[in-house]
């Protein structure tokens, strides 16, 4: 049984403690609280150097110190506090860092409201368990042998072949039937690589179709996308060490993952509205009657300040778009404004839930829209790194990690 040490404030009073324990149980783990005594609390706070007013946050610090001193036995750490509490947000993030600097325990953080997102919580718990049970697999930084990776996503399916730490074949398609889509992209990738299925030594699958594909292909690695994508992204960006934020603005939802040495410790997923997703850019390019591939280039030539577009919602966004075009603004400025609006929404609605760490690695299909990357850079104050093959992170992660089984 994997023991997850919970450092938290407010869970019991937000009616979410039960959900936390349920999620842990469902991935074969158990929530525990490191024992501390009254005398430990003030001493730990002094040592930590941040003295919060709230006693429960002080208790969190004392519990973290017990873990750092190896006085309490746990396999992983889950740090969680109320969303919108400034004091707790500061302590949560600094404790995350403290645990990472003083222990080898994997840590995941989360800020909740009473409307807890059960799926997000479960993915976090699953990732924690993966990090504990597959430490050796995740430590892998170089791909070896001949392996394949398949990422069976909700909108696209990607396959990729790697040999001796190099990508030698790849393909993607929009997702239809899980097995058919995967088979077709895998075949194309193998063709490009000039290899046959029987030569492939190991395969790693991720994404929502992973269980079906794992069985179908007899994959050696079947793993959730949080850990797999992180490894893929840092490999592609050549940022295997240190901290980074991986940003994936998807067609329907967005993911932002913070990593340290390629291992994820927090993420945020989902978009409140399509106005903050790639879908809005698709709608914009349709209205402009251009291909989405051209939208980015167009946007790079424009100035978003010339066209007012600031939408929480894709419907209002398109209204803004129509008005702006009606005023005779240039396509370039409108395209730039659309990209800027998406970047701003992602920042305001999602990135506030995590602590953005640098560098930012932008991945996924939308990272190919250069105007969006520019806009994200402007909003975050630093141009993101877009590694080559940035849309293949999951497949790269699968191929890389599965080579650990050879």
């Amino acid at each position: 049984m994997i023991k997850i040490a919970q450092l938290s404030c407010g869970t019991e009073y937000s009616s979410v403690q039960y959900e936390i324990e349920k999620a842990a149980r469902s991935v074969g783990a158990k929530v525990v609280y490191p024992d501390v005594s009254y005398a430990d609390v003030n001493e730990a706070v002094r040592r930590f150097g941040f003295s919060p007013r709230s006693p429960q946050l002080r208790l969190m610090i004392a519990r973290a110190a017990r873990l750092a001193d190896e006085k309490y036995d746990a396999d992983a750490v889950f740090i969680t506090t109320c969303f919108r509490c400034a004091e707790a947000a500061l302590v949560r993030n600094e404790l995350r860092r403290f645990i990472q600097e003083n222990t080898k325990l994997p840590v995941v953080t989360y800020s909740f409201t009473e409307r807890l997102k059960a799926a997000q919580l479960l993915t976090r718990m699953e990732a924690l368990v993966t990090i504990v049970t597959r430490k050796d697999v995740l430590a892998r930084e170089r791909q070896a042998g001949l392996t394949a990776g398949i990422d069976s996503g909700s909108s696209t399916t990607k396959a990729l072949i790697m040999e001796n730490n190099k990508i030698i074949g790849k393909d993607w398609t929009s997702s239809g039937d899980v097995v058919q889509s995967a088979t077709s992209v895998l075949e194309n990738a193998m063709k490009e690589a000039g290899v046959e299925f029987k030569q492939i030594e190991a395969m790693g699958v991720t994404g929502y179709g992973r269980f079906t594909l794992g069985k179908h292909f007899g994959a050696k690695l079947v793993q959730e996308e949080l850990t797999v994508n992180s490894k893929g992204a840092v490999w592609l960006a050549e940022r295997q060490h240190g901290e980074a934020t991986i940003l994936d603005i998807g067609g329907m939802d967005n993911k932002a993952i913070t990593v340290r040495d390629g291992v994820p410790d927090n993420f945020t997923m989902g978009g409140i509205c399509a106005g903050a997703s790639g879908r809005f850019l698709e709608m914009t390019s349709k209205r402009l009657k251009i291909e989405i591939e051209d939208l980015g280039r167009l946007a790079d030539k424009g100035n978003w300040r010339n066209a007012k577009m600031n939408s929480y919602c894709s419907v209002f966004g398109i209204q803004d778009l129509v008005t702006t075009l009606g005023e005779g603004k240039s396509f370039e400025d409108v395209a730039a404004a659309a990209c800027h609006s998406v970047a701003e929404q992602v920042y305001e609605q999602q990135l506030q839930e995590i602590d953005v760490r640098h560098p930012i690695i932008q991945v996924g299909g939308t990272s190919l829209i250069s105007g969006l990357v520019t806009a994200v850079g402007e909003v975050l104050g630093e141009r993101p790194i877009v590694p080559p093959n940035s849309q293949y992170i999951g497949a790269v992660g699968g191929a890389l990690l599965s080579s650990g089984f050879l």
Binding site: V31, V32, Y33, P34, D35, V36, S37, Y38, V41, Q56, L59, Y72
Partner: protein, 140 residues
């Protein structure tokens, strides 16, 4: 029993000679039909409200200054709060901190009972900026 149930913490001051074990036997000997459990700081007594209150009354009479009490929400040994299940819950540190403060409170109660007067501690005032400036200049 839910309406009627009362679970009470009886905490012995750190400077008392009474042991948790003694207290448990004492409560048993009262024959009030309550369940008693020994703890680090004293005992937990649980039973119908009236019976538990009866125990409290007798303890107050017998040990007016050595034992302190409050009700506890969770029944004794409730897995939701039991230390053996998850490790200590936050309330444990609270009890520990209050236990350490008890001798001071005990002294205060005894003085009150004897009818001694007391001085309300004055709030410390901060040094005025003017004063502080003078001191700084003197040091320089």
């Amino acid at each position: 029993m839910s309406e009627e149930r009362e679970t009470r913490v009886f905490m012995i001051t750190p400077n008392s000679m009474i042991t948790p074990d003694q207290l448990v036997r004492e409560i048993h000997a009262m024959g009030k039909g309550v369940t008693v459990k020994e703890t680090c700081y004293g005992t937990l007594a649980e039973g119908p409200r009236e019976s538990v209150r009866g125990v409290l009354k007798e303890i107050r009479k017998k040990h007016p200054y050595d034992i302190y009490s409050k009700v506890r929400a969770y029944p004794a040994g409730d897995p939701r709060r039991c230390r053996a299940q998850h490790g200590t819950k936050p309330g444990f540190v609270q009890l520990e901190a209050e236990w350490e403060a008890l001798p001071m409170i005990q002294y205060g109660i005894q003085c009150c009972e004897r009818g001694e007067g007391f001085d309300v501690p004055r709030e410390k005032e901060k040094l005025s900026a003017e004063e502080f400036k003078k001191i700084c200049e003197a040091v320089r």
